[in-house]
C-alpha cells in the first residue's frame, strides 16, 4: 500500500487525550448515543420509581423479559441487512409457544410423565422444529418463488394468528412442566455466575490483544492502547456489576445465558462465514453481489430458515417464561423486534447492522416496556411513548450522521 505518499495529519492544539476521546466518540457515535440513551432511560425510571426499577428483582426480571423478543431481533438484523423484512416473527413465536403447550399438556406428560428430561427435551425439539419448518416454507416462497418478503410474511401473520386460535380453541393451555420452566425461569448459582463473568473478562482481554496485533500487522487504524484498555475495562466492570446485581436476586438467569450464546453464534456467523458476509454484500449492493457469483436466492432462503429457527427458540422461551400458551401469544413482538434493530443502527436500506447494537436496542425497548409497567402508566401511553422514542431515536441518529 502506498500509504507513504499520503501525508500525516497535523496534530491539533487540543490536549491529546481530549482529542482521543472526541475521535472515539465521533467514530462510534451511534454506539455511544445508544448507551447514553439507555442510561438516561434507566435514570429516569430509577427516579420515578424511587429505585424500584433497578432493585435486584426488577433488574433481573427486566433482562429475563427482554430475551423473548431479543431472540427475534437477532434474526431480524440479518433479515433487514439483506434488505428484507419479516412481519411474521411475533405470531410465529406465539404459534410455537401454543403448539409446545398443546403437546406438553395433551400428549407428552401423559406418555412420558415420569421422565422429566424427556418431556422437557421433546417440548423444546417440537418448538424448534415448528419454527424451523415454518422458516423453510416461508424462505422457499420468498427466495425461490420470488414473492416479496413483505407480502409473504404479512400473509403469514394472519395465517399464524388463525392457527393459534385453532390450536388453543380460544383457551389457555398450561406449559408448566417443572423442568421445562427452568429454561426461562431458572437461575444459576452465584459461583457459576462469577465463573462466567471471569471467563468473559479473560476473553475480552484476549480478543482485544489479538485484534490489536492483527491491526498492527496489516496497518489498520490502531486505536491507542489506552483507548482499547479503557473500553475493555469499562465492559469488564459492566459485566461484574451485572453479575453482582443478579446474584443479589437469584443468580444469573438461564434465558439470558441462552441469549448471549445465540447472539455470539450469530455475530460469529455474520463476520466469519460466507453466509454472513454474503448477507451484508447482498444488502449493500445486490447486483454487485450477484455478479460476484453469490447465490442470492440460497442466501435469502437460509436467512429465513435461521429466522424461523430463532422464532422457535423465542417461542419455547416464551412458553417456558409465562407457563402457558394463549391466544394473544406473541402479539406485537415483531414490531418490538424490528424497532430493536432500527434503534441498534440497522439500516432499513440494507447492508448495515450489527447484532451487538441490536441487543442494546432490544434492551432499550424492554426497559421502556418494563419501566412504564411498574410506574403504572396506562397501557395506552406505553404505546404512545414507544412510538415517540423510536422516531426520536432514529431522528437523532439521522441528524448526527448528517452532521458528520
Amino acid at each position: 500500500m502506498s500509504a507513504a505518499s499520503t501525508a500525516k495529519v497535523k496534530p491539533s492544539e487540543r490536549p491529546k487525550w481530549v482529542e482521543t476521546i472526541l475521535t472515539q466518540f465521533r467514530i462510534n457515535i451511534q454506539t455511544y448515543t445508544l448507551i447514553l440513551a439507555t442510561i438516561a432511560i434507566w435514570a429516569y425510571f430509577y427516579n420515578e420509581t424511587d429505585g424500584l426499577f433497578l432493585d435486584p428483582r426488577n433488574f433481573s426480571n427486566l433482562f429475563r423479559q427482554m430475551t423473548t423478543t431479543a431472540f427475534l431481533s437477532v434474526g431480524m438484523v440479518l433479515v433487514i441487512v439483506t434488505g428484507n423484512i419479516d412481519l411474521s416473527v411475533g405470531k410465529l413465536a406465539g404459534f410455537v409457544s401454543v403448539v409446545v403447550a398443546y403437546f406438553q399438556s395433551n400428549y407428552l406428560t401423559d406418555y412420558f410423565g415420569d421422565n422429566e428430561l424427556l418431556v422437557a427435551s421433546l417440548s423444546v425439539l417440537i418448538g424448534l422444529a415448528v419454527g424451523l419448518g415454518y422458516g423453510i416454507i416461508q424462505g422457499y416462497i420468498i427466495a425461490y418463488l420470488g414473492v416479496t418478503a413483505f407480502i409473504v410474511t404479512l400473509g403469514s401473520m394472519w395465517l399464524l394468528n388463525g392457527a393459534i386460535l385453532l390450536v388453543t380453541e380460544g383457551k389457555t393451555i398450561p406449559a408448566n412442566q417443572p423442568m421445562f420452566s427452568k429454561i426461562s425461569q431458572g437461575y444459576m448459582s452465584s459461583e457459576v455466575g462469577w465463573i462466567l463473568g471471569g471467563l468473559t473478562i479473560v476473553v475480552l482481554f484476549f480478543t482485544m490483544f489479538r485484534g490489536r496485533q492483527k491491526k498492527r500487522q496489516y496497518n489498520f487504524d490502531l486505536p491507542s492502547l489506552g483507548t482499547d484498555l479503557a473500553k475493555v475495562i469499562g465492559l469488564s466492570v459492566l459485566v461484574l456489576v451485572y453479575i453482582y446485581r443478579v446474584n443479589e436476586y437469584r443468580g444469573f438467569q438461564n434465558p439470558v445465558l441462552l441469549l448471549i450464546i445465540v447472539a455470539l453464534i450469530v455475530t460469529y456467523m455474520s463476520n466469519n462465514t460466507r453466509f454472513g458476509r454474503y448477507a451484508y454484500a447482498i444488502g449493500g449492493n445486490r447486483e454487485a453481489a450477484k455478479l460476484s457469483g453469490i447465490n442470492i436466492n440460497r442466501n435469502i432462503f437460509l436467512i429465513f430458515v435461521l429466522m424461523g429457527l430463532l422464532c422457535g427458540v423465542s417461542g419455547v422461551t416464551l412458553a417456558s417464561r409465562v407457563g402457558y400458551g394463549t391466544i394473544s401469544a406473541g402479539d406485537g413482538y415483531e414490531l418490538d423486534a424490528i424497532a430493536a434493530c432500527i434503534l441498534g443502527g440497522t439500516s432499513t436500506l440494507g447492508g448495515v447492522g450489527t447484532v451487538f447494537g441490536t441487543m442494546i436496542g432490544a434492551l432499550i425497548m424492554a426497559s421502556l416496556t418494563n419501566g412504564l409497567q411498574i410506574t403504572n402508566v396506562e397501557p395506552a401511553y406505553v404505546y404512545v411513548l414507544k412510538g415517540i422514542v423510536l422516531v426520536v431515536a432514529v431522528f437523532v441518529d439521522v441528524y448526527l450522521t448528517r452532521k458528520r
Binding site: 500500500m1 499520503t6 451484508y280 454487485a288 453469490i294
Partner: protein, 519 residues
C-alpha cells in the same frame, strides 16, 4: 487581490483539505481566468474531485483550510448542500447522472423550478423555455424526449443544459467523457467551445490526456494533493504532462508484450440473444474466439452491444436464442455468474458503482467477496489468509488507500476501479473478460493494469478486453474484433488493424463519409 490586469474569476489560496488519515489537498493555490476551460490533471487520488467538491459546496467552507476567492469575494458555502453553490452560479455536471429517467428532458431541466400558474404547471412555457435554452447553446436534443430513451451522450447534454439553465458562470465537468463514445466526445468538445464563447468558465477533469490538448486553455496538475504546475496548454506536451503527473519520465504508454498465443480455448459462435425482459433482439450474430495467452480486443461504439455480449456470455443478461458458447470445445450453458466463475470465466464489469462494488464495505471485503470460497471452510473464514491475499493484490495494483479496512467509497474513482480489478483477478480465471478496465484510471495506473494483463496472458490466461479507447485497443490487443449494432463484423490481426479500419467497421460505412452519428 490581484495586481495584474487579467480577469480572474476564481482563485484558490492555500486550500488544505484533510480526511481522517489522509491529506487530500495541501496548500493548493492557483488562479482561473474568466471564460477559460481549465483542465485539472493528476493521478488517481491526486485530489481533483475533492477540489471540485469544495467548489461546489459538497464540502462546506468550514471543513477545509485556506480560501477560495470567487468574483473577488471569499466563497462561503455551508451545510454540505450544493444548492448554495448553484445559486451563486457554480454548477456541476455529475458523472453519475442525476436525472430522472422516466421524465422528459424539459421536466428534468426544470425539476424544482417549474413555471407555475394558478392552474398548475405551465407546460407550454416549460417546453418553450427548454427549447430556447437548447438552441442557445446548440444542444441537439428535443425538450419532449423521455430521458431513458436517450443515449448516454444526450443524457449528459441534458445534464449540462440543466446546469446552464441555472445561469452557471462556472461549470464543473468531472470525467465527463469516461462513458462517452468518440462521436459523443466530439460533440461535447463542440459544446464546450460554444460555452467558452458565451463566457462560461469550465473546469475539465479527464484521464484521457489528449482531450486537454483539444480543449483546455490552461492546465493545472495536482500530485498527492499539491499543485505541481499551472500553465497554458500551449507550453505543455503530453510527455511533459505525464511526467508532471507521475513525477518521473514515462517513455511509453503501453508495455511491450511477448504473447505466445496457444490453442483456442474459448469460442462464441453465431450468438443471437434477446434482452432479458421484452423481446428486442440485442445480439444478432456474434462470433469470436480467443486463444490461450492472447489478448482479444473488442472495439465498437457505445451501444454496439459489447457490454450486452459479455454479460450474456456470463449468464447475467440476455436470453440466448441461438448459437453457442464453448470452452475447451465443450458447450457451456451458463445461467449465472457463479456458474461462469466455476467454469473459469471472470468478468470485470463496466459500471463499478452498480455492478462492481459494495460501496459501504471495506476494500478488503470487496476484494475477497467473490473469492471467499478460497478461504472459507464450512463454518469459518480464514481471515489471515483473506487479508494476506487481498493485500498482495492491493499492493501489486498499488491501490492508494490508508489501509484495507477503509470503505471503498472513500477511495478516489480510479482506485475504486483497481479494487474491482483485484477482486476478479483473485479468482484466477482461465478466461478473463474486462469491460472497459481502465475507465477513469490515470496513466501510471493504466500502465500497471496493462502490465498485469500482459503478465496474465504470458501465464496462459485468455483475455478479452472491451475498450472505448482505440489507442488502448491498438496498443494492447493481439487481435481486434469489431462490433457494430449487435453483430461482430470482422476480427483483425493487430498488424492489419488501424484506427481508420476499426472506425469504418464499427460505424458500418464505407470510409468516405467518416463517422456516423450514433448517439
Amino acid at each position: 487581490m490581484n495586481t495584474d490586469t487579467t480577469d480572474y474569476i476564481l482563485e484558490f489560496e492555500n486550500v488544505t483539505k484533510r480526511f481522517p488519515g489522509v491529506v487530500a489537498l495541501q496548500d493548493v493555490s492557483f488562479k482561473v481566468r474568466r471564460g477559460e476551460i481549465h483542465g485539472l490533471c493528476g493521478e488517481n487520488g491526486a485530489g481533483k474531485s475533492t477540489l471540485m467538491k469544495i467548489l461546489s459546496g459538497v464540502y462546506p467552507s468550514n471543513s477545509y483550510e485556506g480560501t477560495v476567492w470567487y468574483e473577488g469575494k471569499e466563497l462561503r458555502l455551508e451545510g454540505g448542500s450544493i444548492r448554495q453553490a448553484t445559486n451563486q452560479g457554480i454548477a456541476t455536471v455529475y458523472q453519475e447522472l442525476t436525472l430522472i429517467p422516466t421524465m422528459t428532458v424539459g421536466e428534468n431541466i426544470h425539476l424544482g423550478k417549474e413555471p407555475v400558474e394558478v392552474y398548475g404547471i405551465n407546460w407550454d412555457r416549460l417546453y418553450a423555455d427548454t427549447r430556447e435554452l437548447l438552441t442557445q447553446y446548440n444542444l441537439d436534443i428535443q425538450p419532449q424526449d423521455i430521458l431513458q430513451n436517450l443515449g448516454v451522450g444526450k443524457q449528459q447534454m441534458t445534464e449540462i443544459a440543466k446546469a446552464l439553465s441555472e445561469n452557471a458562470q462556472v461549470l464543473i465537468l468531472d470525467e465527463p467523457t469516461s462513458a462517452l463514445s468518440e462521436a459523443e466526445i466530439d460533440k461535447l468538445m463542440d459544446i464546450l467551445d460554444n460555452l467558452r464563447d458565451h463566457g462560461v468558465t469550465c473546469f475539465y477533469i479527464t484521464h484521457k490526456l489528449e482531450e486537454f490538448f483539444r480543449i483546455a486553455d490552461t492546465i493545472t496538475v495536482l500530485r498527492d494533493g499539491q499543485v505541481i504546475t499551472s500553465q497554458p496548454t500551449e507550453s505543455l506536451s503530453v510527455e511533459r504532462l505525464v511526467s508532471y503527473m507521475v513525477g518521473r519520465e514515462m517513455t511509453e504508454r503501453f508495455p511491450s508484450s511477448k504473447h505466445v498465443p496457444g490453442e483456442v480455448i474459448f469460442e462464441v459462435e453465431d450468438l443471437y440473444a434477446r434482452e432479458p425482459t421484452g423481446s428486442r433482439e440485442v445480439l444478432h450474430g456474434v462470433t469470436l474466439d480467443v486463444r490461450r495467452g492472447e489478448i482479444l480486443g473488442i472495439a465498437g461504439l457505445m451501444g454496439s452491444g459489447r457490454t450486452e455480449l459479455v454479460m450474456t456470455i456470463f449468464g447475467e443478461y440476455g436470453k440466448i436464442t441461438s448459437g453457442s458458447v464453448r470452452l475447451h470445445g465443450k458447450e457451456l450453458h451458463l445461467k449465472n455468474s457463479r456458474q461462469a466463475m466455476l467454469a473459469g470465466i471472470s468478468l470485470i464489469p463496466e459500471d463499478r458503482k452498480r455492478h462492481g462494488l459494495v460501496l459501504m464495505q471495506s476494500v478488503l471485503k470487496n476484494i475477497s467477496l467473490p473469492n471467499l470460497d478460497q478461504f472459507a471452510g464450512f463454518m469459518r473464514i480464514d481471515s489471515d489468509a483473506e487479508l494476506a491475499a487481498s493485500l498482495e493484490f492491493a499492493n501489486s495494483l498499488s491501490i492508494k488507500a490508508p489501509n484495507l479496512n477503509v470503505p471503498v467509497d472513500s477511495l478516489s474513482g480510479g482506485n475504486q476501479q483497481k479494487v474491482v480489478i483485484s477482486k476478479w483477478l483473485m479468482s484466477k480465471p482461465e478466461v478473463l473478460i474486462l469491460d472497459d478496465p481502465t475507465r477513469g484510471v490515470d496513466v501510471g495506473a493504466k500502465y500497471e493494469i496493462y502490465k498485469l494483463m500482459n503478465d496474465l496472458a504470458e501465464q496462459g490466461m485468455a483475455i478479452i478486453m472491451i475498450s472505448s479507447e482505440l489507442e488502448e485497443v491498438l496498443g494492447m490487443s493481439d487481435r481486434v474484433m469489431v462490433m457494430c449494432e449487435g453483430r461482430s463484423t470482422e476480427t483483425l490481426d493487430i498488424k492489419e488493424a488501424t484506427e481508420e479500419r476499426i472506425m469504418a467497421l464499427a460505424t458500418n460505412v464505407a470510409t468516405e463519409n467518416g463517422v456516423t452519428e450514433t448517439v
